[in-house]
Symmetry: C2
Subunit: 346 residues, 2 copies
């Protein structure tokens, strides 16, 4: 019968029932039966009894003894948001197949949380931390892998997009379409990708001979998660600044917000203004028009972060040099970009 799930037995109880020592049972359970040359017959008995009684080791006791928790912490800006969760999906893929679990916390850019969460996770004995789009303030006595964190510090491994290529991809696409006056929306100052991406845009523009008009550059300010900030900033761009035929947004959500503002102003996308996003979140392809965007391999970045962290935990490596693992973007051309209007405002 499907036995009522009462509290599972302890190792001591199981051993007593089997008339064996805790040592022996523990070894068999942990797959070290052969290593300790425990009789096959005994091993079978143990395994059978364990299954029958639904025994599984109390991981808290194990953690205390081994000083290992098989747990990592993940810190993200905001869990209710597409970027982080795409990365989380990848992290989960890797972690769980190695028997690790993870805690997630969202700091929401609050400095008390940014400071407090890593300590709290440490007190909970996490063996490592993955920081997504988050700059870690303090040095910690455990391995840290950062996804798009852009801090170069000893012992920190960074998973980073090749921003030079990303910028080049987007700008050469716009150039090919004949765009000359391109507006840009930079990320919020607190976003760790902002500067890196902007620098890369500057270089790519120079390389491609594209002029960056300062009056066509805006920056997100509001910390709101949705498209609102993009709409807001685009309205400003539209009102007080010069004309433009294309817009490169900091991310997809911002691009969607921008498109809203553009339409409000009676402009058609992509006929009048082309818009390029960044990230390729799920919603980018279902948006209308489907967004042309620079795709970041987010899930893969999560996987890489997790497997790298697991390696560091396993091998006890504490890289004394900063290490960067570069991943590469793709340009996904959809319907939000088109040739620049002919005879347009130059």
């Amino acid at each position: 019968m499907p036995q009522r799930t009462l509290k599972p037995p302890s190792l001591r109880e199981l051993s007593a029932a089997l008339n064996l020592s805790q040592s022996t049972v523990s070894r068999v359970i942990n797959g070290e039966g052969d290593k300790f040359r425990i009789a096959r017959k005994t091993q079978e008995r143990v395994l059978q009894a364990a299954a029958a009684h639904g025994y599984s080791a109390n991981t808290v006791a194990r953690s205390l003894r081994q000083k290992r928790s098989y747990t990592v912490g993940v810190i993200v800006p905001e869990i209710s948001e597409g970027y982080s969760t795409a990365v989380l999906g990848g992290i989960e893929d890797e972690l769980l197949k190695d028997g690790f679990f993870y805690f997630v916390v969202s700091h929401r850019h609050r400095s008390d949380l940014l400071k407090g969460y890593p300590r709290m996770m440490l007190a909970r004995a996490v063996e490592g931390i993955i920081a997504v789009d988050t700059a870690m303030e303090d040095e910690l006595p455990i391995p840290i892998v950062s996804v798009s964190g852009h801090q170069h510090r000893d012992g920190l491994v960074n998973i980073e997009l090749d921003h030079a290529q990303a910028a080049h991809l987007a700008l050469s696409h716009l150039k090919t379409l004949g765009h000359k006056r391109i507006a840009f929306i930079k990320g919020q100052v607190f976003s760790s990708d902002t500067n890196r991406r902007w620098d890369a845009i500057g270089e790519a523009a120079k390389e491609l001979g594209i002029a960056i008009h300062p009056q066509l550059v805006a920056q997100l300010e509001s910390a709101d998660a949705g498209p609102g900030p993009g709409t807001e900033v685009t309205r400003q761009l539209l009102q007080s600044k010069g004309p433009f035929t294309a817009l490169f947004a900091f991310n997809d959500v911002t691009a969607m917000g921008a498109i809203l503002a553009l339409r409000e102003a009676g402009l058609r996308v992509p006929k009048d203004v082309s818009v390029v996003g960044f990230d390729d979140v799920l919603a980018a392809s279902t948006y209308n028009p489907p967004l042309t965007t620079v795709r970041q391999p987010l899930r893969n970045m999560g996987r890489t972060a997790a497997s790298t962290l697991l390696g560091m935990i396993r091998d006890g490596i504490s890289h004394s040099q900063p290490v960067t693992i570069t991943v590469y973007p793709n340009l996904v051309v959809r319907k939000s970009t088109a040739p620049a209007p002919t005879g347009a405002m130059e």
Copy 2:
């Protein structure tokens, strides 16, 4: 100087440094100094030293001793997805302010994971589980709160949307707009909301005198997360079935997929066909056209789930009766619905 974060001291070390017993130090640290009438002066010394040495109790040892983990488990179908993460945001809000952390796992509808994860979380001593849009197979010796799980079983608390109201809201909106031939896309069989929602639609339709034409009812089959399944099923609806002027989709993502298929077929939304979604995920408002949808208070459902679970953990309540906490939908009218085309195909 900002001391290099070495491994933090243990209680024993701290006590030794203070020339006090571990008992005393532990009591002060845990805020029980007054309760045990420990000299104010001593308390201050302890707190000061703790801060100076960066002491914080090893939670693993504490958990083992207290047989408490201050951790709950959350199981969702898929973490890279808007519905679950909206709920997770609410869960986090409540949990963290009570000092609880949570593990997240995504079962992805794989039955081995659906079965295995709860056990794994149990072995990790979680004190309770929140299941989001997931039917829990086994009975567990800890409290469980289910969000949209729709199982009525002893000891299980359900957070559920008022589906009757939801259906009524959507259908009366369409009726007011003059729609008579309404197509429906039901959820996948594995989604725990599917039946409940469909039954509610049936009743609301009867109440409102709206006919449900069996040939205008389709069901999602593919387990894919994106809008693909919605597009697919709408194409079928369009090809082989009778005409319709409105479509009520199982959720927003499906609605977006449906709109894609409608456009493909040369139909305009909402001019030719009105579309109503469900959930009001972030993308619903930025979609073009912005989706008219039945809003579920997802974040709030997460908060309610977490605070209910914490209450059960705190008070050791194991409801012997199923309990349902009902939350209420709103109809958010945006641009994907319009009056039925006049003289349309009736």
